[in-house]
Symmetry: D5
Subunit: 91 residues, 10 copies
Amino acid sequence: MLFHVRMDVHLPETLDPAERADIVAREKAYSQKLQRAGKWPHLWRIVGEYSNISIFDVESNDELHELISGLPLFPYMDIRVMPLATHPSKI
Amino acid sequence: MLFHVRMDVHLPETLDPAERADIVAREKAYSQKLQRAGKWPHLWRIVGEYSNISIFDVESNDELHELISGLPLFPYMDIRVMPLATHPSKI
Amino acid sequence: MLFHVRMDVHLPETLDPAERADIVAREKAYSQKLQRAGKWPHLWRIVGEYSNISIFDVESNDELHELISGLPLFPYMDIRVMPLATHPSKI
Amino acid sequence: MLFHVRMDVHLPETLDPAERADIVAREKAYSQKLQRAGKWPHLWRIVGEYSNISIFDVESNDELHELISGLPLFPYMDIRVMPLATHPSKI
Amino acid sequence: MLFHVRMDVHLPETLDPAERADIVAREKAYSQKLQRAGKWPHLWRIVGEYSNISIFDVESNDELHELISGLPLFPYMDIRVMPLATHPSKI
Amino acid sequence: MLFHVRMDVHLPETLDPAERADIVAREKAYSQKLQRAGKWPHLWRIVGEYSNISIFDVESNDELHELISGLPLFPYMDIRVMPLATHPSKI
Amino acid sequence: MLFHVRMDVHLPETLDPAERADIVAREKAYSQKLQRAGKWPHLWRIVGEYSNISIFDVESNDELHELISGLPLFPYMDIRVMPLATHPSKI
Amino acid sequence: MLFHVRMDVHLPETLDPAERADIVAREKAYSQKLQRAGKWPHLWRIVGEYSNISIFDVESNDELHELISGLPLFPYMDIRVMPLATHPSKI
Amino acid sequence: MLFHVRMDVHLPETLDPAERADIVAREKAYSQKLQRAGKWPHLWRIVGEYSNISIFDVESNDELHELISGLPLFPYMDIRVMPLATHPSKI
Amino acid sequence: MLFHVRMDVHLPETLDPAERADIVAREKAYSQKLQRAGKWPHLWRIVGEYSNISIFDVESNDELHELISGLPLFPYMDIRVMPLATHPSKI
């Protein structure tokens, strides 16, 4: 079941650089683990913004919230989720 | 080169049913021709709305505008385009 | 799996009164059939507006879109869907 | 009398972790006390956001404001309230 | 129990002048009946707009929706309702 | 001459608790002095928000700005003012 | 007493050209009568839009609403009014 | 003196096709005359929309309004104008 | 050449009171110098807000940006500029 | 391939003046290097705002994101990108 997720990152200027680097590294590892598990099939950068468009493939709403709220950057992101359905013109 | 496109369809209530059916059929054929050509790799319905999220894969901005403005439903849609780039965490 | 749906009805002023009455009657029957089937567990009117807040309980995003797009009032409504998850404080 | 309430939590990054944990724990206890009293019949998490959709069942506007403004997280939330009425299609 | 209601009137340009005059006259009579009954204690015009700010005093959300949806101008208005509570500084 | 005023309070989290209590107490005294003088005939809390809807009755725009900008909470509030006129249906 | 008024004109495409010309001519005469009376001291076109920024000088809110709602274009305009006060830096 | 102008075209569905073709042809001729005169140095299509971004080079605000309001499509466009200044980093 | 400028002041709460008083005093002097020079013919306070509506009269866009960006309060203001043209009904 | 970019700068008030001057100087050098390379053919200041409108000329979306995210001011700007296409009326 697919969901469209937009994430906008707003890291506080007061964040310690080492802590920041650690969060970003953990975010990358977490994201890649989910990609390998097939849960996060698409991930694109929006040109010019510290934002991404993601497609998640999950079994349920609860699973999706668990995955998203576990993101190391979760406290620093604005996130909007839209459920997707099959389009009748899709081949 | 990938682009994120959201299309919201607003068919006028006064549209003749036969003309409407014809436009929708031509839209489907046009969309599927572009999908087969690899120009429109993703197409999803937004749940609960007469709207879609699409990913286009084109050579240039001019090609993208030509493809979108050729849609039979183009005069009846609100369309927003965002260029996408490779995400550094993408595997 | 629960979804929060807001529907705002905008019936065109040019709609024939008999056709309007027919659509509204079919909407009511359709809604009550889904309620009896357990698919539409909550339905409230927003005070002062021709709008409702609904909770749907479905198996998948595709099922939800099929149910909503089958509403007789679907062509005359603005609809927004938000997926819901279990809240950790819920008893 | 039912009210639809959306709460978006914005905890300041400068909040002391112990104080934060204390506020969140008190919020949970407060919420569950109101749920047991029948005042807060529905509580859902919005997927992907630190937000909830709640339905309150109270005797008056004054009671509702007293309950909401007593929430330990009240100073850290954006809250919007909509009064709900019986829907004519509700079975 | 008090509610703050904003009403913005949008009469269609195609409305027959006689029908329009009839609706406006019935609206006035309906409004004055509710004012005399104490249900609509305040009614002000917003300067420069075909809009009003109203305060309603009702027993319940259901009563408020019944009163508002009975307005002859109801199909031609955008309406927003906010519940009001006692302010602690009010003398 | 009546004016509709909405005030949304945003006290900074870093405000000293004693200073905060002092500002809130002075705000209450200031507000009640204006109410007693007939300048601030209505004051309601918006349910669920740290906000109020107020009606002011003043001689001029200058007097209104002087009264509002003298509020102890003025530096911490978003304020919007709408002039009100007599409504033709008001009894 | 000064008020800032923004007017955006939206003439319906279906308006009869002769009726349109008549309304626009009466609007001009009405506006110039108020300008000569000192009620409408400033009137500017917003570049690129069928809109104006106006400053009115009136005795009361009621007078302002009477003047504005008497505009021949009133049914075809979106209008927003802001009360103005003396600025402390004004020489 | 440069101005940034965004134009969004909304041609009514009821427009006669011949009249529509005539307006579009006159718009093109008008635009190209201004381009040749150096008044309209840049003109781009926004990808996916019936909209353009234009840069005008004029002597005054009055000249700009005269040029824009003379566009054959002027009655069918939403237009927003922003004045531009020299950027200190421009080479 | 006239321009309509709206300025909303947002002084940071952490600003040193002496520095704040100094900035505000310099702003007043700067503003009055421009008023005396005929560059800033109108300046009004928006009732209830720490904001003003100003009309500037300048030779060019570059001159306007130089004047505005030289305001001592410039780093603390949200500013929006609209070019104004002669209105055809202006006497 | 052209892109329209709007950048709004929001430098934090807590930024050290020397660090601020250094960032702004590096931004200018970076911008001028890209201008000389033909990548950034247009750059204008929006009058009255700490913002610019830029046109970039790049080979791909990835190149554009690399250029923009390399801006020394990137962490302090809100940026919106729109792809541009050839306009059919452009001479």
